[in-house]
């Protein structure tokens, strides 16, 4: 459906953006204001180390660990966040009952809960999953709520008049209409989930990339630390690309979406 030239343009411009950023990084750490700062490796060294990691099969299984925690947490968060979001968006009763509690829980930083959760489940994959889910559920909940409330009231009234059963109402109106918002929520949540999946390794020694960073940090290997950071960024990039592709497929027929940009 999309013009191959547009795709080429996107790739090219995207690469250009990354190129500019790398050039800035390289310049600032070698000749620029940050040169000589210990612990800030130049781009070239970091990219070398990043590439070297790709050849290490052990590193791939570490990535697998992190991804597994993130995905499981995200999945739980999607189920919970979308479910609660729809309930709270549609029923003023559910909203009244749950809103104060979510308002109270939402700002609790997951890192503070870490010691408590650690107590119950230990430095395991479950720890990562629980904390990833706890962080990811909020953006999904908020955006689902926004989406559900944004459903065209006329459309909503239409299906009420049809007396669509609950599941049909969800699948035919609420979800499709709220989908763009939910997708945004999931995309934001995915990076939070990833952050926590890595964070639990860093702060509590749960398996995955975080533990690798911890080890690299304890060994004082700044270049390796940055290489792993780059990998976590790439992981986020890949997740996002997948999620947006999924979102586009799902909202393909939502109407003549006009490109705003000239």
């Amino acid at each position: 459906m999309r013009d191959p030239r547009t795709t080429a343009r996107r790739l090219l411009l995207g690469a250009l953006g990354i190129g500019i950023w790398l050039a800035l990084w390289q310049w600032s750490t070698t000749g620029g204001p940050l040169s000589g700062t210990a612990g800030l490796p130049p781009a070239t060294d970091t990219l070398g180390a990043t590439a070297a990691l790709a050849a290490d099969p052990g590193f791939w299984s570490t990535i697998g660990e992190t991804l597994a925690m993130m995905l499981a947490g995200l999945l739980a968060a999607v189920v919970l966040g979308v479910g609660l979001g729809i309930a709270m968006g549609l029923s003023s009763r559910a909203f009244a009952a749950l809103d104060p509690t979510t308002q109270f829980l939402r700002p609790v930083p997951p890192v503070v809960l870490l010691p408590l959760v650690l107590l119950v489940v230990g430095p395991t994959r479950t720890l990562g999953i629980v904390l990833a889910a706890f962080t990811a559920v909020w953006p999904i909940l908020v955006q689902t709520l926004v989406g559900v409330r944004g459903v065209d009231p006329v459309a909503l009234e239409t299906v009420r008049a049809m007396r669509l059963p609950w599941h049909l109402r969800q699948s035919s109106v609420i979800l499709p209409s709220a989908l763009p918002n939910i997708a945004t929520g999931i995309r934001i949540a995915a990076s939070s989930a990833l952050m926590l999946a890595i964070g639990v390794g860093l702060l509590a020694g749960a398996p995955g990339l975080g533990r690798s960073i911890l080890n690299a940090q304890q060994a004082g290997d700044g270049t390796l630390v940055f290489a792993i950071i780059i990998w976590s960024g790439l992981l986020g990039l890949a997740t996002n690309t997948l999620l947006s592709a999924g979102e586009r497929a799902l909202t393909r027929n939502h109407g003549p979406r006009e490109e705003l940009a000239a």
Binding site: R9, R10, L13, G14, G17, W21, L34, T37, A38, G39, L40, A96, A97, F104, R106, P107, V108, P109, P110, V112, L113, L116, T135, W138, V142, Q143, L145, V146, R149, G150, P153, V154, L156, E157, N181, A183, T184, G185, R187, I188, S191, S192, L194, M195, G199, L202, I213, Q217, V225, F226, I229, S232, G233, L234, G236, L237, N240, R257, L260, A261
Partner: protein, 257 residues
Amino acid sequence: MKNWTRAALGLAVPAAAVAGYAAATTANPDPFFPPIPVMLKRFADLWLFEHLPTDVVPSLRNFAAGYAIALTLGLLAGILVGRIRWLKEMAEPLIHFGRSVPPIMLIPPLVLVLGIGDASKVFVIALGAVFPVLLTTVDGMRQVDPALLDMSRSIGLGRVQTLRRIVLPAASPAIYGGAQTGLQVALILMVSSEMVAATHGIGYMTMQAQATFNAPSVWAGILLLAVLGFLINAAFTLVRNRALAWHTGRAAAYAAA
């Protein structure tokens, strides 16, 4: 729904949770799960007077500065990225890369550049909170009803005017959603940034309590953060509800009671 039913419903869930916790801690005492009165007393001792000026106020100052920067930058960048196609294509990979990097990881290198003072903390808070704002701005702007854009072009609204009067208001529910998520991220980072390379702050205090197995203090910290978060969130909701009155009003016009 009547106000008191709303309040009663809203209190039911936390009340049940508190009662459940109280019952569990009496039946099964555990040093990490102190009884509620102990928690509350520690809360009062720690936060109400002694550490308020030295730890709470500076934390909140960092939070406010970081969040304000995030809102401004996120909105500006979101608008630019959302409207200028080449910029969007150029920045998109970087944005998604950037927001995937756990901000906590960047604190040590940031300390090297900005020092252990507040600057690095404000920076990290801004960095983490900017992405939800930015992304929802971009996404919200895409969801404008094309009929409105036609209208806008036909009455001769220029690009800036269309943005200000049509696109942003239409995107505002989504943007407020993103700003709310950014608020949470900012709170998380306010605490996290004080757990690394800090000499004071709520996060520092709480982390210290955790490291020394001072469970009541940990809980007091959680409680403080929850209360602060709640209040900040409530203030935010107030602003949002005022700004989006049309949105809720329109929905309510159709909703059955």
